[in-house]
Symmetry: C2
Subunit: 417 residues, 2 copies
């Protein structure tokens, strides 16, 4: 475990700061009426990476502007060695003791975080969602199919995944309109069309593919191809899902919105927090075996704030609960020869821990609505209500610092009339 790296930007050295020098996550921001630019978060400031590039102060590619764009995809295309050298040079420029003229060049090309509007940090090529949390799969399986059939027979052998909808991925802060769809309770003769009555969240971490591949790749190669991670809330309409998902899986129940946090936390920043997936009772086939620890120790929480009220933290869990890492998921994703592209986003699956208070969805937290949660305000919740703001937070903990993700938040608006 590494120590805090001190920066000449004081706010980055404060205990509890999400964005110390050890982190340096990548995002896209605008300030005032300005255009969208690539930025790096440190302390309470956003460094204008597009301006550093155009001024020749810090370039990823000596010959081409890759940050003169409202996304980090072109930067990702350059590959792992460039990711690493860029980060090393930026770290040196921001470290305590950097030359005064460097400090001046950088501070004049930065804005206070409070003045920045954050946008999607990358263009999502395609979005895949997994189902790799054992507690979550067991809980949902128990509710839907009974305790004996909770875990599907394939679950212990592969990371179950399905393709999601890239066009529905939005950045933190984007309002989410309650979806409409076909609803049919078991006792109904036929379905009706109306607003979802069981609208839910899913606490996940999203992995961003930073290098393309055209055939099957190993878990080790997959681990190297992942550029970074974001928090991800896969909004889910449980009632639409229950009626539509047999036999081909979730479709419109998952297509309304998926919210991601605005900062890409790099794999390199998370390296000190690598951990192996939990012990398993069934050995994996060789193509899925971990070459070393490929999961991360990242503490996570979910807050629910009713309209006008204070927030209640409704769940606390950790990414290290997952049975399959993002690298294992990516390797499985390529096993059929499926081509992967820069900007592909892989949702981890809902991250639930062993106890009720560690669950990453309201479906589990309220046990299908049968045991509603009580909020700090005294109100209860089975599912998300209009006006509720849901916020995911996460961080890895080092010695005297943390690698934070920032907030992944969304407020639910009523269904359209």
């Amino acid at each position: 475990m590494t120590e805090l790296k001190r920066s000449w930007i004081d706010s980055a050295n404060a205990p509890g700061c999400d964005f110390p020098l050890n982190n340096l996550p990548y995002g896209v921001f605008s300030a005032g009426e300005g255009d969208l630019r690539c930025g790096v978060a440190i302390g309470d400031r956003v460094i204008d990476a597009t301006a550093l590039e155009s001024a020749g102060i810090l370039r990823a590619d000596p010959d081409a502007d890759v940050l003169n764009a409202p996304y980090w995809n072109d930067f990702m295309e350059l590959g792992r060695d460039v990711w690493s050298s860029y980060r090393a040079r930026l770290t040196a420029m921001l470290a305590e003791g950097a030359a005064d003229d460097i400090q001046e060049q950088i501070i004049s090309r930065s804005v206070p975080m409070a003045r920045a509007t954050l946008h999607m940090p990358f263009r999502v090529s395609e979005y895949t969602d997994f189902y790799a949390g054992r507690h979550h799969a067991t809980n949902v399986g128990t509710m839907f199919r009974g305790a004996e059939n909770a875990l599907p027979p394939n679950w212990l052998h592969m990371p179950i995944g399905y393709n999601g909808r890239a066009s529905s991925v939005v950045v933190s802060g984007t309002p989410v309109t309650r979806p409409q769809g076909q609803l049919k309770r078991p006792e109904d003769d036929s379905p009706r069309f109306g607003p979802s009555e069981r609208f839910d969240i899913e606490l996940e971490i999203g992995a961003i593919v930073g290098q393309p591949s055209s055939g099957p790749i190993s878990v080790a190669q997959a681990f190297d191809n992942i550029f970074g991670y974001v928090l991800l809330n896969d909004w889910s309409a449980r009632d639409i899902q229950a009626w539509e998902y047999q036999p081909l899986g979730p479709f419109q129940s998952k297509a309304t919105a998926t919210t991601i946090s605005p900062w890409i936390v790099t794999a390199e920043a998370l390296a000190p927090f690598r951990t192996a997936t939990p012990a398993r009772e069934v050995a994996l086939l060789p193509y899925l075996a971990e070459p070393g620890p490929t999961l991360y120790d990242i503490a996570l929480e979910v807050g629910l704030r009713p309209d006008g009220g204070p927030e209640t933290v409704i769940s606390r869990t950790n990414f290290n609960e997952m049975s399959y890492s993002s690298a294992q998921q990516l390797a499985h994703h390529t096993s059929s020869g499926c081509p992967m592209r820069v900007g592909d986003l892989l949702g981890s699956g809902t991250i639930s821990g062993p106890e009720r208070g560690n669950c990453g969805s309201l479906l589990e937290l309220s046990w299908g609505g049968k045991e509603p949660l009580t909020l700090d305000t005294g109100e209860t919740r089975s599912f998300v209500e209009d006006g509720d703001t849901l916020t995911l937070r996460g961080h890895a903990t080092g010695r005297g610092y943390r690698i934070g993700f920032g907030a992944c938040t969304g407020r639910v608006l009523p269904a359209k009339a």
Copy 2:
């Protein structure tokens, strides 16, 4: 039903020609070492639409080059009125009686079809596959779940769909490598990893979304937003699918390749062949009702050619068998608020007719491998074998002409060692 429109390009007037003046489908081609250009098929020639645009002879947008690109997406962005006026002007230029100088300007900007290499005609934004053929759903359901539970309870109420993988869509002629994956027969204790032994095709038609939408749209609007259609072969590994698909649907079984025909046949060219979906026993919810005929009468066939042998036509069917049109599928796709983008591709689902010889997959044609097909060579087939070339063909029939799609073909290569 309209008559043949005669062209001064004689080959376009021949009976049985796929590309008469009534058709004018859009593709992307290269000739020799030349770069990729937008082209229009007529008779045995490809008109260089990129050259017509740059020379100012035929422009879609007076102010911007939209065809100076290896795809038709920018053209689609311009919208329905432009699609229509461009087509009308091109039709006039190619019609019998066009001025000699026009004929000269065009013929000098065309190449023989035989010299053209065809490429993907558009950039696929996202790919969705449906399950909207009743015969296919009943056949597969009977094999997998028994005759009583053949049709899932939701099937009569909505077009069941799932998200596919856009990165795996390839143009006709691209070889397809047999996929590997997890395989587990019911009698096996645990899965193994190896080449699919039940690799299959799915005969479908793909609809291309030509206008974006950001919330729910009606079937009428969806119909207007569809730019055109292609043939589509959704290669499927049945054994990988059987083991992976519960509970979240097909994933790696469908991610190896999806082949499309190289010419986008426009909705306008197909307009005379509109037909309503078949009578249904259960009324649809209003958001899915057809505002008028939204399906098409398109005759389809599948050919299988073993390595070195002659082709056997193994199936003949018609697109008019489908229970849900592409427009109904697109409307359903947006019902949750899912944003749609130009270049989204919607697979119709496998198109099977009422009899065995009308089935659009080998799974059905060989009844799960229990009743192998006999080819004209005397060989038998349960599923696709290495070296087999599968070809889809389709056309609508007018008075003295047809609107053809050209071939959608792919040869299967052995799995990688």
